[in-house]
């Protein structure tokens, strides 16, 4: 029975297909179908997971080869799904958080006339994401990879009547395509080098290829990961993606899809183990994004964008960990899971706040919501404690481990990661303070209220998970569990005991919290964003000019080139082709003039011709 891995994908895929093709009559219960499909997938994932638990360490992998996708010449791609410890964790995260978000969306999207379609897209997303993590072949992974991209496109642009949402959706897709360029090239390189794109075979044999190949593969895959996980330099789409409905931001742009890049790096551990350069590149990308994301998170007044900045930053942590090699992979995944819990929790909390505030997202219009929305406040607070790494909460364990690993790798990397933790504490405290504490700054017509139970229950569950996520580390369970996939973990011995590092991290976090509180909690917050601010703040508000740079360097030249070429095609190339024809026509017109119609002209022509002919003959003969 454990061969039926495909059922995991089939449930949500069937749900999506059903909802998209069924007519209006399913509007009333469509959301239930979708939720049940997602829940079934979760239950089946749990069953398979338990089955996996019962096996020996070396035996924990179920391959389900469905059919040959395509095969031609030397190229053979099997539609195969692999359920192993790594994908098992992802399956549970995706379907678990996914189901909760389905439930939440029932309430959140209640008044939207296109709710059925929304759920269809959510189901499509779940199916694609499961394909991504279960894939046994890079090409199948790519199928899921693009599938989640499509779902993300559809969901960001769900409120299509808003031009900003449509633009954001397109931007997300196109930026992701740039990353896909790297993915596609990596796939071709695999085929050219190894004659296969099977994940297992590629990672097994990459060691015997030249170092250049491994590096190229690593960098190309990293480009793909950067696109999907919104890492610098392809980070710009994530902030705009917040145009989508909030459950989407929670599910896709916080908990699951954006972490696919980290999954890709960890899944390709063989490649990264074989190339020091590629690993270093991963670390650098992670580190830069960690700081950039945190920086942006500090400057945003839009609650969702602040959280999005934070997501970038946290994924930066995961990338950083993944770049540290075998020691870091498990912690990257660990942080990914805990982040999935607490960030989904906070996004849904933010959605709950917006629900109560007439969809206002400006935190400067919030304040003192802890009384009006107690459940949201409590759950959000738990998420907050988890993300800043309050001792005992899940984020504490996962982030601590990453900083510890980073310090073990390189002092400066470690210090930067530490700085990131402090900044995280600062901006999250700012967010908490501006939203739930301080004075009321509500707009007149707004009457905050707690959200309905269908929305708060998922919040409570996720809050509980945020608190308890750290249990996964109990007895190094997660590292042992992932060992068959990512390889053996060697423990770095640091000069100082881990407990000291934990204390230092906690101290830095405390400083961040304190600064945040004294700037935003203890003082009154301006009702409108101050305009006279330092260039640093301005840069943060403008996303560190990421869009501006893209615009100048890529977008404008491309569009200009496109228009120019289109013009050239009509006025240049085509005009030339048509011109050749027209010149011939003109030539013919000119020749026509010699036909005067006067007999004597023709006669003269004949005589001259005869004369020339005779002379020519004579010239030849004599």
């Amino acid at each position: 029975m454990f061969d039926y891995v495909w059922l995991l994908v089939a449930f949500p895929a069937a749900g999506a297909a059903l909802l998209l093709t069924w007519g209006k009559e399913s509007d009333r219960f469509g959301h239930l179908i979708a939720t049940v499909a997602s829940a079934l997938s979760f239950v089946w994932g749990l069953v398979l997971f338990i089955g996996l638990l019962g096996r020996d360490g070396d035996d924990r992998s179920i391959t389900d080869s469905l059919f040959t996708w395509f095969s031609s010449g030397a190229f053979h791609v099997e539609m195969s799904l692999v359920f192993d410890p790594l994908s098992a964790l992802f399956v549970l995260l995706i379907t678990g958080v996914g189901t909760l978000i389905h439930v939440y969306s029932i309430g959140y999207m209640e008044h939207d006339e296109r709710r059925r379609r929304f759920f269809a897209f959510l189901n499509l997303f779940i199916a694609a994401m499961l394909t991504l993590v279960l894939a046994g072949d890079y090409l199948v992974l790519f199928l899921g990879w693009e599938g989640v991209g499509l779902a993300s496109y559809l969901l960001i642009g769900f409120w299509q009547h808003k031009p900003s949402a449509a633009a954001a959706a397109k931007k997300a897709f196109v930026v992701n395509r740039v990353g896909d360029l790297g993915m596609a090239l990596a796939l071709m390189l695999m085929f050219a080098q190894f004659g296969t794109t099977s994940i297992q075979l590629v990672n097994d044999s990459v060691g015997s290829a030249s170092a250049g190949v491994a590096t190229a593969l690593g960098l190309l895959l990293l480009l793909g990961a950067c696109g999907k996980s919104a890492q610098v330099p392809l980070q710009s789409w994530l902030l705009d993606a917040m145009e989508g409905p909030t459950p989407v931001s929670a599910l896709i742009h916080a908990a699951t899809m954006v972490t696919a890049g980290v999954y890709l790096v960890v899944r390709s551990s063989g490649v990264y183990d074989a190339s020091e350069v590629a690993r270093t590149a991963v670390v650098v990308v992670g580190l830069v994004t960690l700081l950039v994301g945190a920086y942006i998170g500090c400057a945003k007044d839009d609650i969702k964008k602040a959280l999005a900045g934070s997501t970038m930053s946290q994924i930066g942590y995961m990338m950083l960990a993944a770049g540290l090699g075998p020691y870091g992979y498990a912690f990257a995944i660990f942080h990914l899971i805990t982040h999935g819990f607490f960030k989904a929790n906070m996004f849904l909390g933010a959605g709950s706040v917006m629900h109560g505030m007439n969809d206002d997202v400006d935190m400067r219009h919030y304040g003192a919501l802890r009384k009006a929305m107690p459940v949201t406040f409590a759950t959000f607070g738990l998420g907050y404690l988890a993300i800043i790494g309050f001792p005992g909460f899940s984020g504490f364990f996962s982030k601590d481990k990453i900083i510890e690993a980073a310090l073990g790798e390189n002092l400066w990397v470690g210090l930067a990661a530490l700085l990131g933790a402090g900044v995280t504490a600062f901006y999250m405290t700012r967010l908490m303070a501006m939203t739930f504490f301080g004075e009321k700054r509500w707009r007149d017509e707004v009457h905050p209220h707690e959200s309905p139970r269908v929305m708060t229950i998922p919040l409570i569950v996720l809050a509980a998970a945020s608190v308890l996520g750290g249990l996964l580390l109990l007895g190094d369970w997660i590292t042992d569990w992932l060992e068959p996939v990512v390889g053996h973990t060697e423990h770095h011995e640091l000069a100082v005991p881990p407990i000291v590092i934990s204390l230092i991290v906690t101290a830095v976090v405390a400083v961040g919290v304190a600064v945040g509180w004294f700037t935003y909690g203890a003082r009154a917050v301006d009702d409108t964003a101050p305009t006279k601010v330092s260039p640093f703040t301005r840069a943060g508000r403008a996303d560190l000019y990421g869009d501006a740079i893209n615009d100048v360097v890529v977008v404008r030249p491309t569009m200009a080139l496109a228009r120019g070429l289109e013009w050239f095609d009509r006025r240049g190339l085509d005009a030339f082709a048509v011109g050749v024809g027209s010149r011939l026509g003109e030539l013919a017109q000119g020749l026509r003039r010699s036909q005067t119609g006067y007999v004597r002209t023709y006669a003269l022509g004949i005589f001259i011709g005869a004369l020339v002919l005779t002379l020519a003959l004579m010239a030849v003969t004599f």
Partner: protein, 97 residues
Amino acid sequence: MNEYLALSMILFTIGAVGVLVRRNAIIVFMCVELMLNATNLALVSFSRQHGNLDGQLAAFFVMVVAAAEVVVGLAIIVSIHRARRSVSVDDAHLLNL
């Protein structure tokens, strides 16, 4: 011998100039005939010079063709004259632009 050929050349040149410079279709026509007959004269002279009948044979062919041509040509000229009340070749230049 050369006298015959010289006469033939002179007749041919008169005919050719006539075709080129005269407007009256009948005259042009006569000039064409003149050219043909100049050629006939040359052919017959050569026949005599070479002592065989090839040239005379060719001359007869030319006469036959010329007769046929006269029939067709005069018919055209007559019909043009009927249509336009003119036999000037310049009046019939429908082939021009």
